[in-house]
Amino acid sequence: MNDIPAHLTEEVHLAFPSRDNLAIEARKLDFFYGKTQALYGVDLPVERHKITALIGPSGCGKSTLLRALNQIYDLYPKQHAVGRILLDGHDVLADRKSLSRLRERDGGGDDTMVRSPIDIAGLRARVGMVFQKPTPFPMSIYDNVAFGVRLYQRKSRAEMDVIVEKALRRAALWDEVKDKLHSSGLGLSGGQQQRLCVARGIAVEPDVLLLDEPASALDPVSTAKLEETLIELRQDFTIVIVTHNLQQAARISNHTGFMYLGRMMEFQPTEELFANPRGQRTRDYVTGRFG
C-alpha cells in the first residue's frame, strides 16, 4: 500500500481557465469505492457555456468524476468523496463524511468556504446527467420530459406543453415525435431515446449537463445529430462530456481534460491539447499509441 504509483508523482500539465466564469468546479477531489481509491486529488474547472470533454483510457475515472459532480454515488453507501465541489462558488459536497475527512486531510481547510444550504435534490436539479445507455422511463414521451419539471413546479397543462415542446426542440427530437407525444418512450430508437434523455435533462433548465459517453450506443447519423444538439445547447447550458471518441472531443469541446488512473494529467484548451500535448502520456493517448 505504501508504494506510490508512478503516475501520481509525474508532472501534470494543467492550463485552467480563469476562475471567474466557472459553472461547476471540482477541487482536490478524492473518490473511494469502499477502500479502493478511484480519484486522486482531481481538479476540474468547468467554464460556463462551454463544452468540457474528458478523455482517457478505460477505467481512469471519467465516469467516477461525473458521478461525483452530481453526487449520484450517494445511492451507494460504500462510496464517498472527499474534497470540494463548487457550484457557483458554493461548496455543495453533501457527503457527510467529507467535511471531517477534509479537515483531517487539509488541516482545517480554509474557513472562508461556507457550506451552502443547497440540498442534494437542489444540486441535482441544477446539474443534470445523461448516461451511456439510454434510460427512458416506462411512460409516455411527454411524461418523460415532464418528469423532472413536475418534481419542482406545479404547472398548468398549457404551460407544461410549452416546456415539453421547447425541451424536445432543443434536443432536436421534436419533429420526430410531435405526433406521438403520448405513446411510450420505450418505443423510440436508441438514438431517439438518448435525445429524449437529453430533453428530459434540459427540461428542468439545469446549469450544467453531464454526459457520460452519450453517443457510444448510437450510429454515426444519430451521433452527428446529438453533437449538433450539444453545440446548440452550449448557448444555454454548460456541458461536460465523457467520450472515447477523440474526434468527437476535438469537434465539439472547448476544453479537454486527459485523465489517467484516477488523476487529471493534462487540461488544456481543446485545440492545444490535440495539436500540442504537453505530457508524454497525453501524447501517446491522443496519437493512438496507447490502449
Partner: protein, 279 residues
Amino acid sequence: MDRALIRRIQNIIFVVLTAVATLIALTALVLILWSLLSKGIGGIDSKIFTMTQPAPGSEGGLSNAIMGSIMMCGIGLLIAVFVGILAGTWLSEYGGNTAYGHAVRFLNDVLLSAPSILIGLFVYEILVRPFHGFSGWAGAVALAILAMPIVTRTTEDILSLQPSALREAGMALGASRAFVIRKIVWKAARAGLVTGALLGFARISGETAPLLFTALGNQFFSADLSQPMASLPTTIFQFALSAYDDWQRLAWVGALLIAVAVLSINIIGRVIAREARRS
C-alpha cells in the same frame, strides 16, 4: 462405433425421453380437465349461483361457497399483495444486503414452502381460539399468509432485475429514492408485479386445509366475515366425501368452478401484463 454415431444416438434418446415426459405431464393435465368437464359441466345451471347448499336429496347450489371463496380469497390476496409488494420492495431496494435483510429473506423462503396445514393451525391459535369462534376473517388471514411470501419473492426478484441506471436516472433529476421507486421502478416492473399477485392467487384458490381450521364452512349464505364462512374447497371436501350422489355432483361443479377461475384470472393477468409491457 464412431463418435458421431454415438452422439446421434445419445441425441435421439434424449429427445425421446423429453418427449415422453412432456406427454406424461400433458396426459395428466388432459385427464384432470376431462374428468372435471365431464363430471362438472352437466351440473352447471343458474341454481348453482343462486341457491345455497342443499340438504341431501333436495335442490340447491353453491352460492354460499362461491361468495365465501370470493370474499376470503379477495381479502386474503389484497392483504398479501399490499404486504408482499412493500416487503419485496424493501428487500430489493433498501435492506436486502443487511443482516436483517438476509434473515427476512430466509424466513420468507421458509414460509414459502411451509405446509398450508401449519398456517391453518397457526391462525387457529391466534385468531380462532382467542375469539371463541371460526370466522371469515381468520380464513382470509390464513390465505393472506399463504400468498404473502409468493408475492414478496416475486416482487423482490422482479425489482432486482430493473437496471440500476433507471434508478440513477430518476435520482439524477433530483427525485427522492422513494419517489423513483413508486413512479419509475414499480412502473417498469408492473407486468412482473401482476404475475406475482396471480401466482399468489393460484396458490390460495384451492387451499382447503387452512380454511377448515379457520373459516370452517357454513351451510347458509353469509357475507359476514365475523361468522364462519363457506368456501368452495371446504364444500368440495365435505360433499365429495359424502355418500350422496347429488352432493358429489355439486363437488365436481365446485372443482370445475375453481379451475375455470384460476384459468381465467391467469388469462386476464397475461393480457394485463402484455398491455403493460407494450405501453
